[in-house]
């Protein structure tokens, strides 16, 4: 039973790793680099918190 579990673990790892690689490839070819890396630090703070006493 433990040996079977061990093989199952390899299986799951490989399937999920391949899925992630596939999704990565899909996302990188669908969206432009500009959109993907458009996150900026402190955006929300700029609107919601003015830091005035």
């Amino acid at each position: 039973m433990w040996i079977a579990l061990s093989y199952a673990c390899w299986g799951i790892s490989i399937v999920l790793a391949l899925w992630m690689l596939f999704d990565w490839f899909k996302v990188d070819t669908t969206y432009s680099e500009g959109v993907l890396t458009s996150s900026r630090e402190g955006e929300l703070e700029a609107v919601s918190e003015k830091h005035r006493i």
Partner: protein, 468 residues
Amino acid sequence: MTVAVETAGTAVNGGDRVSLLRVLGPAHVWALGVGIVLVGEFTGWNFSADKGGTLAALIVCWVVGLLYTSVAMIDSEVTSTVAAAGGQYAQAKHIVGPLMAFNVALFLVFAYTMLEVSDAILLGDTIVAKAGIDGLTHNSFIAATIVVLAWLNYRGVLMTLNVNFVITAIAYVSIVILFFSVSPWTQGAVLKLNELVTPGNALPYGWIGVIAAFQFGIWYYLGIEGTTQAAEEVRSPARSLPYGTMAGMITLLIAAAMTWYVCASLMPWEYLGITPYPLWDAGKLTGSPLLENLLFVATLLAAIASANGCINDAARAWFSLGRDRYLPSWFSAVHPKYRTPYRSILFLLPIALAFAFIADLNQAITFSILSGVLQYTFMSINIMMFRKKWPLGSIRRGYTHPFHPLPAIVLFCLCVVTYFAIFLGFGSQLIAMIAFYFLISVWFHFYRYKFVRRGDQFSMPWPKPQGY
């Protein structure tokens, strides 16, 4: 500048921005903090008994508890004001400067990745020990842990931390169940503290052993400061982060005290100091199969919760480095559908796997502790500079910690003691690590920094710091 106000599931079209999603509440912050740390009760803290005896383990449990209470207080104040992914990295960038920030981010990535590696090794070894079959190795279990959790992190932060909340709670409750089922109020029936810890063996190495024990005492609480990594995904960081972090610290102090009491009353210190799974062993030694199996499952769950939180935190620190171009900006991509730093998660995955296959538990833990202590040293100086550059009243703080500068001084002194403790036994490793950080800092300062935009790094809407 247009500010993207994100709502869950918004489709991304041409001009839009993608950013991390603000979906988490205080319970998730607690789950992230305690989830990462609780595995320390299931393995690691007990190596402090090896270095100084059972009593030393108790002394460091309390003294290091004090260190971490200072960490939690200081961190809550700074992070409730600088709420950005990357946590201490963003703090360092705004308060000390870019090179410090670069180093802090590396401390974070190393501490969490090596902690994740330790968790995976622990999980694999625990299953192999339970199975007791010749030829069964831990590699498949390690691979499954790291890959499945990376996948969970890839798919979204909310589900990741919901899972963490449930499994952390189960692991925690199992410690409480163990504690109450050994009748802690009567010594002699199951617990034999006064026969196992005698005046002769309580401190086998004397006081130097107590100091040496600091190294692994860190492991009782290491990672609680990771709560700040969630800052950009928490709905109201100024309130949730201090609340979740403090609640987490109280939870851990209780767990650490219960764990010590049960384990010290069930095992001789020589064994306690070397076993990889003290709580599971404690379960076995009660003689109850139910408790034994409960603690076996809890050990696995604690390891999973910890590795899960570590992937979350390490990926966010790496992501922030990319976002400021400290590292190639390629890493700063956010997944348009799941809103996670997916490239950072994928990049760190093979590194964690590689170390999990080549290192052993003890070594991975030491790497992690070293990076942690370097970071705490930074935090103690950071808070002093924060209060000096922006005194109370000059900016709005979500939380102001009491007794300043006492916590910072306590933290700094305890860090110095811990360096000495690491020197006793792991000195060459410490020097090798510092050499690495030193060289990579030189690389950053003289070469890599030229790709960084200067003024843009300072993203908080604060007034100019005093003294500049």
